[in-house]
């Protein structure tokens, strides 16, 4: 059994999905889905343990050996991302029953769990697989499930947002497919390790550069890197709140993983530089994304939209870390991958709680909420402080490594810009804080109680995670450091 963990990681949620359809009752479907989610998380923990102790795991699907068969390859980086995705997936499921109860009709909820599990399976598959076409397949599985998840939002704009994302996402995926096609026509293999071995021989050819360009653009569409981010705010705002919590903490992280995997494991570090000044492009686009998104976030009246733009900014930070091009920079990106999942997961779950009680995410609805829903607002405050990068939260850890990486690389202006971006975060976080704590609840509105435990507990688990990993960052920092070292060849 333990030998088959890599495939079980993906198969369990994949098979659980149609099973949910058979269990037609909402409650049952939820329980079953949560059980599957928890099992998935347990598997990812075991995988991490295995990888840390015995090195990368290679699993041949169906007994067909690589490079002819599809290989699942779990190394430190994959195990790390699997942990994040399955952890968030499971935790959000725990909150899902209550979270969707007011946004999705009960008769349709089993179908919600079906799409959720499909999305989870797809995301996990992208991370676990070692075959590049398999990546495309799982990418499309997760994307299709995502479009369906977003479309389940109450507001009719959710449909439009889902459609837009469908168009943009499919174009991105097709670009990736084109890139894969070029690579295959050059090397004759689809296995990522094999590709890495064969690419240096043909690295100078235009085809290879074109393949790289197509793949990178396609992945950046999925990443929501500025200026390819336009689908994200609508998608996050109009999707059901639980869906936003899940997506914000996982989907873009997996895309970042894919970019890292392609750039470092498949194409090799030197490749990108010889083709385009990719590092410089990432630095510029990342930073512009941070500033533009933060500035737009400051003006948003809808809090979900505000934090959606904040997500675009945070992704910008991750790309800046890659753009620095050093070991510490990559470590910072990987750290922020984990930390941002914690931050945004907590924030959007808290927002789900607010949406549950108030039915709205407009900033006007937040007036006086500090007194009416103290624990929920406290969670939002701590998440906000983490976004700003206050010490003792995970956000500080990410910022430290990111700024350190830029200073080590001598990129002083970038360091300054990163910190200025944090100051913008102060402005938009404080908008929410002021409305919640300084304004009175308007008279005549219904009395609002604190969020139900089913939503509060997962939110606070993530908040405590924020604080714990902000104070004991050794575990994540070392893990990120080792993963980065394995990718970038060691020396910082």
């Amino acid at each position: 059994m333990l030998n088959h963990l890599p495939i079980l990681q993906v198969v369990i949620p994949l098979l659980a999905a149609p099973a949910c359809m058979l269990l037609d009752r909402a409650r049952l479907a939820w329980l079953f889905a949560t059980a599957a989610g928890l099992a998935t998380f347990a598997i990812s923990c075991l995988l991490l343990y295995q990888v840390q102790h015995s090195g990368p795991i290679s699993y041949a699907l169906g007994g067909w050996e690589a490079p002819w068969g599809i290989e699942y390859r779990i190394d430190l980086l994959s195990a790390y991302v699997l942990l994040v995705v399955s952890g968030i997936g499971a935790l959000v499921l725990v909150a899902a029953n209550t979270g969707v109860s007011r946004e999705i009709p009960e008769a349709k909820q089993p179908l919600f769990y079906v799409t959720y599990l499909l999305c989870l399976a797809g995301l996990l598959g992208i991370v676990a697989t070692g075959d590049i076409f398999n990546v495309f397949v799982f990418l499309e599985i997760s994307s299709l499930a995502t479009y369906a998840l977003i479309a389940q939002g109450k507001n009719r704009r959710a449909l439009w947002a889902a459609y837009q994302y469908l168009i943009v996402g499919t174009i991105g995926a097709t670009f990736i497919l084109i890139g894969i096609g070029f690579l295959y026509s050059l090397t004759g293999t689809l296995n990522m390790v094999d590709l890495a071995a064969r690419l240096p021989a043909i690295a100078g050819s235009h085809t290879a550069y074109t393949a790289f360009a197509f793949i990178v653009v396609g992945v950046c569409l999925k990443l929501a890197l500025f200026p390819l981010h336009l689908w994200l705010p609508n998608a996050y705002t109009y999707a059901p709140s639980i869906v936003t919590a899940f997506l914000a903490a996982t989907a873009t992280k997996v895309a970042v993983y894919l970019l890292i995997r392609l750039q470092f494991s498949v194409f090799g570090e030197g490749f990108a530089e010889s083709a385009l000044p990719l590092d410089a492009i990432f630095l510029v686009l990342g930073l512009v994304g941070v500033f533009v998104a933060s500035l737009v976030a400051i003006q948003q009246p809808n809090i979900k939209r505000l934090f959606a733009y904040s997500s675009v900014a945070q992704i910008g930070y991750m790309i800046v870390g890659m753009g620095v091009g050093t070991h510490t920079g990559l470590q910072a990106t990987l750290l922020h991958l984990f930390n941002h999942a914690l931050m945004k997961g907590a924030l959007f779950l808290a927002l789900a709680a607010v949406a549950y009680r108030l039915g709205s995410s407009d900033i006007k609805a937040f007036r006086g909420l500090g007194r009416a829903m103290p624990l929920t607002m406290a969670a939002i405050v701590i998440g906000g402080l983490s976004l700003i990068g206050v010490p003792l939260t995970v956000g500080f850890v990410s910022k430290w490594y990111l700024v350190l990486a830029t200073i080590q690389a001598g990129l002083w202006p970038v360091a300054v810009l990163i910190l200025l971006g944090s100051l913008l975060a102060v402005v938009y976080v404080w908008r929410v804080v002021e409305v919640a704590y300084f304004q009175q609840r308007p008279a005549g509105l219904a009395v609002v109680k604190e969020a139900p435990l089913a939503l509060l507990v997962p939110t606070w688990l993530l908040v405590i995670g924020n604080l714990y990993f902000g104070v004991q960052a050794g575990f994540t920092a070392d893990l990120a450091g080792s993963a980065a070292a394995a990718l970038i060849g060691g020396a910082p």
Binding site: F133, F136, V137, E140, L144, Y147, A148, A151, R156, R157, L159, W160, A162, Y163, L166, I167, T170, I171, T174, L177, I178, G181, Y184, S185, L190, K364
Partner: protein, 127 residues
């Protein structure tokens, strides 16, 4: 000549551009999906045409045939076609729901209806 010999690539490029153009320029949601489909099809043709081995037959096992075209792209594209169909199905389902919710499938009208709804909301909030 090189140009004529690589006619498959020209077909691919032509279809790709047509598809892309339709997606971006067309305002009708269904037409956008059709453009998307054309775009995807161009990629399918790309893979298949690249997999053709000169003088090889279709990659279906036959004891008398010695040279086959590469079967792998065919397999990959079968998968991709399925993905494309699923995408179309989902896209069309969304269009049906949009039509029900908005009464139109033209992008401009959707945006106009949304703006109207927003204005009405704001007026309501102010009253």
């Amino acid at each position: 000549m090189m140009l004529v010999a690589h006619y498959n690539y020209w077909v691919v490029i032509a279809l790709m551009m047509i598809g892309f153009y339709v997606v971006i320029v067309q305002g009708n949601l269904v037409k956008k999906l059709i453009g998307l489909n054309i775009f995807q099809t161009s990629v399918f043709i790309f893979y298949i045409s690249v997999g053709k081995v000169a003088g090889g037959s279709a990659p279906i096992y036959d004891p008398e045939v010695t040279l086959y075209s590469n079967p792998l792209p065919h397999v990959l594209i079968l998968t991709a076609i399925v993905v494309g169909i699923a995408t179309m199905a989902l896209g069309l389902a969304l269009v049906v729901r949009i039509k029900e919710a908005y009464g139109s499938v033209e992008e401009e009208e959707l945006q106009a209806r949304d703006l109207e709804a927003e204005d009405a909301q704001q007026k309501e909030n102010q009253c």
